[in-house]
């Protein structure tokens, strides 16, 4: 390869006439040394820095050294085309956030397209807004009007490649393309690969923790999309870097040199990330007979209604979630349903559900919450506890009950202005007590001063659960973190908790680890919530249902093991590679 010589080199010596002319014009008043310095400064690299960093709200995002370094290198040393391949959980999204913030500051981001797996699109949108103040429209937003109608777009890669949108996506010259989970384009014979190959963009940032999925060609494909020609042809790459007998890498130094031009891989061991322990306490409670009856009635209604009309999926899913959160949450939705539609076929059923709600005097979860909060009051500084629920009605009930019992309470939900939200968090820190929050608590809020959290009800999206935990279990948390999960026995919550979340060890996974499991699952085209709901409504018997959930758990477990294996495999391949900052 050292003698690889396909092109000519032509050396031209520029005329020195003008320079020589200046000998005659040389005058003693003028300063030659100054000109020398100017010439030398012109040739120097600007001591570039991430100028936008100063604008970031330190409360919203805590940047780590390896992240700043990666953003810097991607922008200034790799000329804005980089494969960010940190190990899982080191914050690749933050790195891209910083890059985009900087480009925004330098006004080089007129049009930006971020392509992600469908499940992660909204999360990207939230993080960019909360942590970096960058507003992006997502293809799942109501106001999304097409790829030629917005300048900053986050979309699922499959939406972008769909027949409906592809032409518009390809018809545009994008300033920046961000591709999350870049191993999606490892195979050159797929539509996804073609889409990226045909996209026109000036700067590209591809993210993956596992650039190699099956074979080393994956790495070739992903890198060649970003920097065509860096590895030459596929044949040359194979011939020169891959020992075909063992599928291992050879000529590693040369490969590292080339990869260093385009790829950044931080390893967990090399960073200063250090998390405290996380301890999980899942408590399941026997529902009262009234609660049990209510649960059964709602489940029957949901199953029946869904079999008749699958278009109502979202609202039925909501009812199934509310019934285990609180009767109050359920009540509001049922009433709205009764009031809102004149042609309802299940009016009687709904009215009897309302009666059952009225019949509940004691809410089991509420009673048990008191004992958890009481324990905290005895053991934790200022008794600070955060209680999360998905529903406003449940939140109101909890707040009323805790106030009655004499606790200091704080309420946090999406209806507050950002100033109010800030004040609430401040009060919680100063006064202690219990903060009852909906999931609208933004990730950027700094709540490390609290280390106890209660999941009063459980989102069916594992990412949501991890985001809740992430509010307190984050870099900067100095104490161990305690997470209490509350669930009613024999309900969907128990299934989700026991059969799914514990099986994948959800409560100990980082967002990055989870996303690699979930995006693998997504290849099947369904979301986690859909999977749960389908099982719930389609099971013919209790045993069926248990079996179905077990089967889903096995799938998840497999995905998890696969994700782990891949991560290990990639670590192995890149072991001994120093892909950190180059020395020159």
């Amino acid at each position: 390869m050292a003698d690889f010589d396909l092109v000519d080199t032509e050396v031209t010596h520029e005329s020195a006439t003008d320079l020589l002319e200046s000998i005659d014009a040389d005058s003693p008043e003028r300063d030659h040394v100054q000109t020398i310095q100017a010439v030398r400064l012109q040739a120097g690299q600007p001591d570039s820095e991430l100028r936008s960093l100063k604008q970031l709200d330190v409360e919203s995002v805590k940047l780590l050294e390896h992240q700043v370094d990666a953003a810097y290198r991607a922008l200034f040393e790799m000329d804005g085309k980089a494969l960010l391949a940190d190990e899982v959980g080191l914050g690749k999204t933050i790195e891209v956030g910083m890059i985009l913030k900087e480009m925004h500051f330098r006004e080089t981001d007129d049009s930006v397209l971020i392509l992600t797996p469908a499940q992660l699109a909204k999360q990207w949108q939230g993080e960019l807004l909360e942590k970096f103040g960058l507003e992006y429209v997502c293809n799942y937003d109501d106001e999304f009007r097409g790829f030629d109608q917005h300048d900053h777009i986050i979309a699922s890669i499959d939406t972008a490649k769909s027949d409906r949108h592809q032409a518009t996506v390809l018809n545009r010259d994008w300033d920046v393309l961000v591709l999350d989970e870049a191993h999606y384009v490892k195979n050159e014979e797929t539509d996804r690969y073609d889409l990226i190959d045909n996209l026109s963009y000036n700067y590209g940032f591809f993210l993956t923790a596992t650039p190699i999925q099956n074979e080393l060609t994956d790495l070739y494909n992903v890198v060649s999309l970003l920097r065509p020609g860096l590895f030459g042809t596929r044949d040359v790459f194979h011939h020169y870097f891959v020992n075909s007998n063992q599928e291992t890498l050879v000529n590693r130094d040369e490969l590292q040199d080339r990869l260093n031009k385009v790829m950044i891989r931080n390893r967990r061991a090399d960073t200063d990330i250090d998390f405290t322990n996380r301890s999980i306490d899942t408590r399941t409670f026997d529902p009262s007979s009234e609660e049990r009856e209510l649960y059964q009635a709602v489940s029957d209604y949901v199953r029946g209604a869904y079999s008749e009309d699958q278009g109502q999926k979202l609202v039925l899913m909501l009812l199934q979630k509310e019934v285990v959160s609180s009767p109050a949450a359920l009540k509001a939705t049922i009433e709205k349903r009764l009031d809102g539609q004149s042609e309802l076929t299940h009016t009687d059923e709904l009215e009897s559900i309302l009666d059952l709600i009225e019949g509940i005097e004691t809410v089991t979860k509420q009673e048990n919450l008191l004992s958890i909060v009481e324990e905290a009051r005895d053991h934790v500084e200022m008794g600070r506890v955060i209680v999360f629920t998905q529903f406003r009605a449940t939140q109101r009930e909890i707040l009323d009950r805790l106030t009655e019992e004499g606790y200091t309470v704080h309420s946090f939900h999406g209806g507050h202005s950002s100033q109010e939200k800030e004040q609430i968090v401040e009060n919680f820190e100063e006064e202690g007590g219990v903060l009852v929050s909906t999931d609208s608590m933004s990730e950027g809020r700094n709540l490390q001063f609290c280390n106890i959290m209660v999941n009063y009800d459980l989102p069916w999206n594992p990412m949501r659960v991890e985001q809740r935990i992430g509010r307190i279990h984050r870099i900067g948390q100095k104490r161990d973190v305690y997470v209490f999960n509350m669930a009613l026995k024999d309900t969907v919550e128990e299934y989700v908790l026991e059969r799914l979340y514990h099986k994948i060890d959800l409560f100990q996974q980082s967002v990055g680890e989870l996303s690699s499991i979930l995006t693998r699952l997504e290849e099947s085209g369904k979301t986690f919530e859909d999977e749960i709901f389908e099982r719930l409504v389609n099971a013919d018997s209790e045993i069926d249902l248990e079996n179905d959930f077990d089967a889903m758990a096995v799938d998840l477990q497999e995905q998890r093991e696969l994700a782990e294996k891949l991560e290990e495999f990639n670590s192995g391949v890149f072991e001994g590679f120093d892909l950190g900052a180059s020395d020159d």
Partner: protein, 387 residues
């Protein structure tokens, strides 16, 4: 080889700007990061005369009229260095023993020998020429690379003076006290000759970098040629399929012509067959041509791709500096244990030792890889000492 470029740090930016503005006759009132500059009306510059406020760093977001930012990437700084770089590309400076430290050669520093005294006695003045060259390397698949290198040669002996290059670069940093310059007194023809003499040599010195980029360009060209080959292969397959389809249809039409009793149908079929036959011939000739080109390896396309990926190296002389320096003798008083010796060597200011010194035992030359080991029984090098 030393890179002549200066990293554009904030402090370099501020130092240079301050010096340049002062040189133009401006006054600067500094209040922290805020500079109030008054540029005189008669100053020979593109910077508008009058009041100007500079903000160091990027603290100020909204700038008013006559307010500018000053940082490595600011447009104001770019304007200043663009102007200054063309102001006086030729000049003469002097390096004298008064402002340089005596350089003890490296081969005398890696041993137990003390240098008790070093005295330089200049005997005569010499002139050298230092030329800054910009070497720009360009190819389609890589970002343009620009290198700045300096070469210094003695005007009389034409020998290259690497140490003087270092001294020159060192002493013209913005952080060093400013050296005064005067007009050059070499003839234009001499300067021209020196450029002719040095420009090939400067290319040789950056050859490793050129080779590296050349390799990358070759790889990119290869990948593109391969891509083209695959595309043509695909096209051949498509055409072959099309040819088979056409041939089948022609065959079908021929049969229907044979069998048809209706004249109108037959005429229509005959016309259609004629059309298809002509299409078939077009496809066939395109295929034939493609096959032919494939066998030959697509020479025209290959040439076109290779030419497009070719490297263009442009060497431009940017500044000429005449450097006056002194040559003479350096007397070194050496001591090792109880033994002392005096050593006299040819020396130049900024140039360093100009003589080669041989080991008195094995007669090998002392240098970077062969230091002086002992003076006990004469000057002995480390190589023969260890043997």
């Amino acid at each position: 080889m030393t890179d002549a470029a200066i990293p554009i740090t904030q402090s370099a930016v501020e130092q240079f700007t301050e010096r340049y503005l002062t040189f133009l006759g401006s006054t600067i009132k500094r209040e922290g990061d805020r500079w109030e500059v008054t540029v005189p009306g008669e100053a020979e510059t593109e910077i508008p005369s009058g009041q100007l406020v500079l903000f160091c760093g990027d603290a100020a977001a909204d700038l008013g009229e006559n307010e500018r930012q000053l940082h490595p990437e600011s447009s104001f700084f770019q304007e200043i260095i663009d102007e200054a770089s063309e102001r006086q590309p030729t000049g003469k400076i002097t390096i004298s023993s008064k402002n340089t430290q005596i350089e003890i050669p490296q081969w005398l520093q890696e041993n137990n020998i003390n240098v008790n005294d070093a005295t330089f006695t200049p005997y005569y003045d010499r002139s050298a020429i230092a030329i800054h060259y910009r070497i720009s390397i360009e190819t389609v698949s890589e970002y343009q690379t620009e290198l700045l290198r300096v070469t210094a040669i003695d005007i009389r002996s034409m020998e290259r003076l690497p140490n003087l290059e270092e001294t020159f670069l060192e002493s013209t940093l913005p952080t060093e006290p400013q050296i005064e310059s005067q007009p050059v007194d070499v003839e234009k023809s001499t300067a021209d000759e020196l450029i002719a003499q040095t420009r090939e040599q400067i290319v040789e010195r950056v050859q490793p970098k050129i080779d590296e980029i050349h390799q990358e360009a070759s790889r990119s060209a290869d990948a593109e040629i391969e891509e083209y080959r695959q595309m043509q292969q695909q096209r051949i397959e498509e055409l072959e399929e099309k040819k088979t389809r056409l041939s089948d249809r022609i065959q079908d039409l021929s049969e229907s012509i044979q069998q048809s009793s209706d004249e109108g149908d037959r005429v229509e079929a005959l016309q259609k067959r004629k059309e298809l036959n002509s299409e078939y011939e077009d496809v066939d000739s395109e295929l034939e041509e493609l096959h032919h080109r494939r066998e030959q390896g697509f020479p025209r396309k290959q040439r076109e791709i290779r030419e497009r990926h070719a490297l263009e190296v442009i060497v431009s002389p940017l500044t000429i500096t005449q450097i006056e320096y002194e040559r003479g003798e350096l007397v070194l008083e050496l001591e090792e244990g109880t033994v002392t010796r005096s050593l006299t060597l040819g020396y130049g200011d900024g140039v360093g030792i100009t003589d080669e010194l041989d080991c008195e035992f094995c007669h090998q030359t002392l240098g970077e890889h062969n230091s002086l080991r002992t003076i006990q029984e004469g000057l002995q090098c480390s190589q023969c000492y260890s043997n």
